[in-house]
Amino acid sequence: MSAVFVAHELGRWYGPVVGLNDLSVSVPGGVFGLLGPNGAGKSTMLKLIAGEIRPSRGTIEVLGHQPFANREYFRQLGFCPQQDALYGDMSALDLVSFLTRLHGFSAVESRRRAASALERVKLTDSMHRRTREYSKGMRQRVKIAQAIAHDPKFLVVDEPLTGLDPVARRDMIALFGELGRAGVHVLISSHVLHEVESLTEEILLLHRGRLLAQGKVHEVRALLSRHPRKVEMRARESRRLARALLALPEVSSVAVAPDGLSLSLETRDVESFFTHLPEIALAERAGIESFESTDAGLEAVFDYLIG
């Protein structure tokens, strides 16, 4: 399969602010996720892919085209932006029909396609209502409908599951999977690892404007479990518990707070730690009141990965 997206030493900055820096990557196509914490450069990369902005340096080619203001490329692109903006005075059907007509379809064909796309995102019942009356989740689905109504070859979606309820999330995940199986290349941007994991195995990891890794989700998962994690706990017998936990090989340090109830520890293998914890807590009659892993977020993982 030829690459759907190729970047070479790609950089983009906004005045002194670096959005993306020296990114070289080739993505073969299919469904793939663009992952990174807030400020990683995902939106900049999507703007470059969607042809909204030009690179400051380097090159980018998508489906063999340089994207910026490229009409030939836009015929094949479906773009669902992150911003929660729609024409609030138009109904979903009118809005999607109008945008589909801009692809050159007749009024009748555009309306048929719009109705079909809205059905795919489960909005048929409310497609005649003005979009300003919609919930955030419904607006999100309109945005997805306008991106798929013209049958794009390449679908780019920025944080597509934001604002959706669990049922709608499941439906959208199924829809993206269906599109992928139908041969549409789908790029999904997210800062939530498990969201992307439910959609695809293939991911690009961005951090602070740079490409950190490209590969399978399970490889990132492996990095995640090797990443030292802090765990904060409150227990009646925290000193006794701390002594017992320190004996575990995966626990590297334990500190008990002066109040004698709270303790914090660092573990090199969080999965193994949580497997052993209940057994130890029971044996020591520790009386655990609460516990949480305080740095399980993607940001912490990325900070760890880049050292």
Binding site: A50, A69, E72, F74, A85, L86, D89, R101
Partner: protein, 259 residues
């Protein structure tokens, strides 16, 4: 070219239906009615000002020098900037359309909107003035026609300038207000050749040349009015250059939106 015409028409038809029912339209309509309301009040209460004077002063000064540029600013500056501010421009500029068709389609819809409400406002002004009880010459056709023509030409040219300002500047309303009052309001009323740098000069020249002697009053008379052909050529060139520049800029410019 066919794609450009088709897309422009589609954007025009879509926008024209929306603009008439927008909140911006209410502001414009309220502003457009002001000269007619003032004319009605003068016609009702004044024992000295006749119908022709009401039309000349309120039409030539209040309508043409204040209301027309302000309405064109309110509606014209939104042509592209509204899509930028609402962050909906992304949906249009990720489609296979000539970018300039957004400017042309929405500007034409704006001209239709402005033309409709300003024609109605001018007609109401004439109607209100005609109720004056002070004896005067009847409102002649040339005077009335010249006012309508100047108002419509002014709305067309000003709205194009402000639409382009919406592409170039982050705050086109502020820039437009500065232009309307500092350049058009001030320069056009200073005696001398500077006047010819304003749109007002050409609109007033038009009224003087086409509307007859009634327009030759203090505050409207020009040292050396432009001939009718000169007015048409100059305003046509301003319009063409503004739109061509706007089309070029919108094609090249990045619209970086922040969430």
């Amino acid at each position: 070219m066919a794609l450009f015409a088709r897309t422009t028409f589609l954007l025009f038809t879509t926008h024209v239906g929306r603009i008439f029912v927008s909140r911006r339209a209410l502001v414009c309509i309220a502003l457009a009615l002001l000269p007619a309301l003032v004319a009605a009040a003068i016609a009702h209460f004044s024992r000295r000002i006749d119908a022709v004077e009401i039309v000349v002063y309120l039409g030539g000064i209040m309508l043409l020098q204040i209301v027309v540029p302000l309405l064109a600013l309110i509606a014209g500056s939104a042509v592209v900037s509204e899509e930028i501010e609402d962050r909906t421009i992304t949906y249009l500029f990720s489609r296979p359309i000539p970018r300039a068709s957004l400017l042309f389609g929405r500007w034409l819809a704006t001209v239709m909107f402005l033309g409709t409400i300003l024609a109605a406002a001018t007609a109401l002004l004439l109607l209100a003035a005609s109720t004056s009880k002070v004896a005067s010459d009847p409102l002649d056709a040339a005077l009335v026609r010249a006012l309508f023509e100047a108002v419509l030409m002014g709305a067309t040219v000003y709205s194009a300038l402000f639409a382009v300002a919406g592409i170039l500047f982050k705050s086109p309303i502020l820039v437009g207000l500065g232009y309307t009052f500092a350049v058009e309001g001030f320069l056009a009323n200073l005696p001398g050749g500077n006047q010819s740098l304003t749109i007002q000069y050409y609109l007033r020249s038009w009224m003087l040349e086409r509307g007859g002697r009634a327009w030759k009053v203090d505050g409207l008379e020009l040292d050396k009015p432009e001939a009718v052909a000169g007015v048409l050529i100059t305003l046509g060139m301003v319009l063409a250059v503004a739109l061509a520049f706007g089309a070029w800029r919108i094609t090249k410019r990045e619209f970086v939106l922040t969430s």
